[in-house]
């Protein structure tokens, strides 16, 4: 893809154009495929989630080779009558409770990439991490009998690539809230009828 040839600045500029063209937050966050070496974080924008669950299919396929909702490591909770959809996924906490609570030290942090990982060979399947996770993002795989959770596909998360509405974004860890800030800025400027971009 040509996006590999683009500089980051140019890419972000193009991205902002995209924004304005459709006057909405649709299709803006396809950073997957860019070879940025820096540390990045997964951010979830609930407002954009349409509840389609494609991320769950992509996840279960990438991790287990089948399409399944229970084998996914990201979950979309849906309140159907209020049409509210909440993606639940490991936040890779800076001070991760699961890591602290693990009795056998199976949970560790890859400092370079900023990913919290589970060493399946050491995991005893005790569920401590599952109970303590404030998001409910850890589950026990009953076939493998170990705890499983999102590992950000080793730095190239598949769910982000398939999330066309852009509810899942994988952005620079230096200033992860930038995209969110720009969204607000554009919305406000539109409300004030200012020409920006």
């Amino acid at each position: 893809m040509f996006s590999n040839l683009l500089s980051k600045e140019l890419y972000l500029y193009l991205q902002s154009l995209f924004y304005l063209e459709f006057e909405s937050e649709f299709y803006i966050t396809q950073i997957g495929g860019l070879n940025l070496v820096e540390k990045r974080v997964l951010i979830v924008n609930m407002e954009k989630c349409t509840g389609c669950k494609v991320c769950m299919l992509a996840c279960s396929f990438t991790k287990e080779g089948v399409f399944s909702l229970t084998k996914s490591r990201i979950w979309i909770l849906r309140d159907e009558s209020r049409s509210m959809f909440v993606p639940i996924v490991c936040e890779h906490c800076e001070d991760a409770p699961c890591q602290t609570v693990c009795p056998v030290g199976a949970i560790y942090r890859d400092q370079e990439k900023g990913i919290v990982l589970i060493d399946e060979s050491r995991c005893i399947g005790c569920r401590e991490c599952m109970w303590i996770c404030p998001f409910g993002a850890v589950q026990i795989n009953l076939e493998k009998r170990v705890a499983v959770k999102c590992d950000l596909c080793n730095g190239d998360p598949e769910c982000v690539k398939v999330c066309i509405p852009g509810a899942l974004q994988y952005v620079s860890a230096k200033r992860p809230a930038a995209a969110r800030g720009w969204e607000r800025a554009l919305k406000r400027s539109k409300a004030l009828e200012l020409e920006v971009g």
Partner: protein
């Protein structure tokens, strides 16, 4: 099995029994899945002439080989039954999350037989299937039913399908509601559920779907998804929903207004998807399972008279049926009316058509204030619209009872030529909201539709030539770009035939027709390839389209077996006899002569008999429908003449 999970779940409500049968591969190869296999099961299980509201009727929920995979928009379910409205074959296709959940629970199809004596609901939890008491749910609206079942089971993530009070009261246009706001609206499936005393179906699936060639399939599906995400039609659908095209159709003067007296309104602004966004009614774009388009709406009214209203929709059809049709141009009132239809379980298209007919009858003095029990039923009266929706759903009073029977039966009771301004055709179904006088392929597609006059069996969107892809397709089908205009009658049968096959294949695979016949991003070649990678059964583009034609023909044969013939392939009187009053297509009409000429060519293309519209024996044998031919022959419903060699 790959693609399919290989099981059919049977639930007999009369005997209180459930069992599982394997899905035969031969059936899969011939009818693909979903709508196709549903049609075959219905053909096998339903005897001709039965009462659609009796225990002999069968209700089938079907998923397809691509359901639950990353194929674009793979959450569609087809519900098939014999309709009480038409007494004919009926399938209704719906999104939401039920299909995928059913497949993950381990079933390709769910067949509901018999009828229960007391209200029940079916609870499917993987291998555990249970018929549970639903006395406490009877009478509850759709939202309450969904909530109560989720609380009772103790899992907020299960998916429900249910009918509302309208279904329980056997209203002739009661819908089946899936995932709360997705409606399998047409044909009164809700009343079939009501007649079986089946209030709801709840499902939870923890299984999986495997495909034959995972890597290839995943790559291809992703590529098709990307193509779809760049399609202008798909982007517009995401941003503004189906009602985003309201203004354009209004410009063509094809947007039915004032009970189809007009095709254009000056107050269109308030009914557009763009207005919903601008004024902040739209809270979120909502997607069915596995869909990257997300055309469904969720709206809320925060202030004013209708404060506190929230619902899925309103869609294009609803904007016309409950907006321009009764001339209610208050967006908030339309949203309120839509909410009521959704939670009471009514089809918005037919509800609108019925109420507008009553309004025109009132205007003409055919219905008096005595008949309406004091309601001032003039056009534009939003209170009357909202009041009537409730009356219909609960079959309250004289007017509620009259209208709940649908236009065919209501006009028979009222008489006085009132059928002339009632928008239903010989099959008995109310027409969906396109003025077919100024869209000729639509008119043919509506007339031959085995369900009745609507766009949900074959939608020939390409004839408008609204996108480069559409024009290209018309050129491919007819040999010349110039035919991409809705005012021509030439080549319409060819256009309808292609769309019929394509529509059938799309639905049979379990994906959404918006990907293939509204956006044209997914073509038959893509579908054949996805099918091959998913199931391991090799199929070319031609072969898969041939399977589509087999499905369409089988559906036709069901109606032939019920006694249908060419006389039923027509349009509402107003479309056939009153010329379009304004606009670029002013003066056009779907005259009997015009329609007959198109029908002749259409039957010829299908190799069906022109006189009766029945398929020839040779045609059926060529399609591999020998058993169908044999049964029709026994009943004397094969044409006397034989196909020309």
């Amino acid at each position: 099995m790959y693609g399919w999970v290989g099981k059919i779940l049977y639930v007999d409500l009369s005997k209180g029994k459930t069992w599982v049968e394997p899905l035969k591969e031969e059936l899969c190869k011939k009818f693909l899945g979903n709508r196709g296999i549903n049609a075959k099961i219905l053909w096998d299980l339903v005897k001709p002439g039965i009462d659609p509201l009796g225990p002999e009727n069968v209700m089938i929920f079907g998923t397809g080989p691509l359901t639950g995979t990353t194929a674009p928009s793979s959450g569609r379910v087809t519900v098939t039954f014999k309709s009480p409205v038409t007494n004919l074959y009926f399938k209704t296709n719906v999104g939401g999350h039920f299909g995928a959940e059913l497949k993950f629970a381990g079933y390709d199809h769910l067949v509901v037989l018999g009828a229960s004596k007391k209200p029940v609901y079916i609870w499917i939890d993987d291998d555990h299937v249970e018929i549970r008491d639903a006395s406490h749910l009877w009478g509850k609206d759709v939202r309450e039913t969904d909530k109560m079942i989720k609380e009772e089971i103790g899992d907020k993530d299960i998916i429900t399908v249910c009918c509302g009070p309208a279904g329980e009261n056997l209203v002739y246009f009661a819908s089946i509601m899936v995932s709360v706001y997705n409606a399998a609206g047409r044909g009164s499936g809700g009343a079939v559920m009501g007649s079986k005393k089946l209030k709801a179906i709840a499902v939870r699936g923890s299984g999986q779907v495997e495909v034959k060639e995972p890597e290839k399939f995943y790559e291809l599906a992703l590529e098709v998804r990307r193509k779809l995400s760049q399609d202008s039609g798909a982007i517009s659908l995401h941003l503004y929903g189906t009602s985003g095209s309201v203004a354009a159709v209004n410009e063509l003067h094809a947007f039915p207004t004032r009970n189809w007296q007009l095709g254009h309104t000056d107050k269109i602004e308030y009914l557009t998807g763009q207005y919903l966004v601008e004024k902040g009614y739209l809270v979120r774009s909502v997607a069915c399972f596995g869909c990257s388009i997300g055309c469904h709406r969720y709206v809320m009214v925060k202030g004013g008279k209708y404060a506190g209203t929230f619902t899925g929709g309103p869609e294009y059809e609803t904007m016309s049926a409950l907006g321009s049709g009764p001339e209610v141009y208050n967006t908030e009132a339309v949203i309120k009316a839509n909410e009521l239809c959704n939670i009471l379980g009514l089809d918005t298209i037919s509800t609108g058509d019925v109420i507008q007919w009553a309004m025109e009858s009132y205007e003409r003095g055919v219905l008096t204030k005595e008949d309406t029990e004091g309601i001032d039923l003039r056009f534009g009266n939003e209170e009357a619209l909202i009041e009537l929706i409730k009356k219909i759903a609960y079959t309250e009073g004289k007017l509620g009872n009259l209208l709940a029977d649908g236009l065919k039966r209501a006009t028979e009771k009222v008489g006085k030529d009132s059928w002339k301004w009632a928008m239903f055709n010989a099959k008995g179904l109310e027409q969906s909201r396109v003025d077919t006088r100024v869209a000729k392929a639509y008119s043919l597609a509506f007339a031959v539709n085995p369900r009745g006059p609507d766009h949900l069996h074959t939608e020939t969107f390409a004839e408008f030539g609204a996108s480069p892809e559409a024009v290209e397709l018309i050129e491919k089908l007819t040999g010349d770009k110039k035919w991409a205009s809705p005012y021509y009658t030439e080549y319409r049968p060819e256009i309808v035939r292609w769309h019929e096959d394509c529509y059938a294949v799309t639905e049979a695979l379990g994906i959404c027709v918006f990907t293939s016949t509204a956006a044209y991003a997914v073509n038959p070649a893509n579908m054949a390839e996805m099918f091959t990678y998913a199931t391991g059964i090799k199929m070319t583009e031609e072969e898969i389209m041939f399977a589509g034609r087999r499905i369409v023909t089988l559906e036709k044969c069901f109606n032939v077996r019920e006694g249908a013939d060419r006389k039923l392939d027509n349009l509402p009187w107003r479309m056939m006899h009153e010329p379009a009053p304004t606009g670029p297509g002013k003066g056009l009409v779907n005259s009997p002569e015009e329609l007959n000429a198109m029908l002749d060519r259409y039957y010829e293309l299908h190799e069906w008999d022109k006189k009766t519209s029945w398929p020839y024996k040779e045609t059926l044998i060529k399609l591999g429908l020998e058993d169908v031919a044999k049964e029709l022959e026994k009943l004397g419903r094969l044409p006397k003449a034989t196909a020309k060699k």
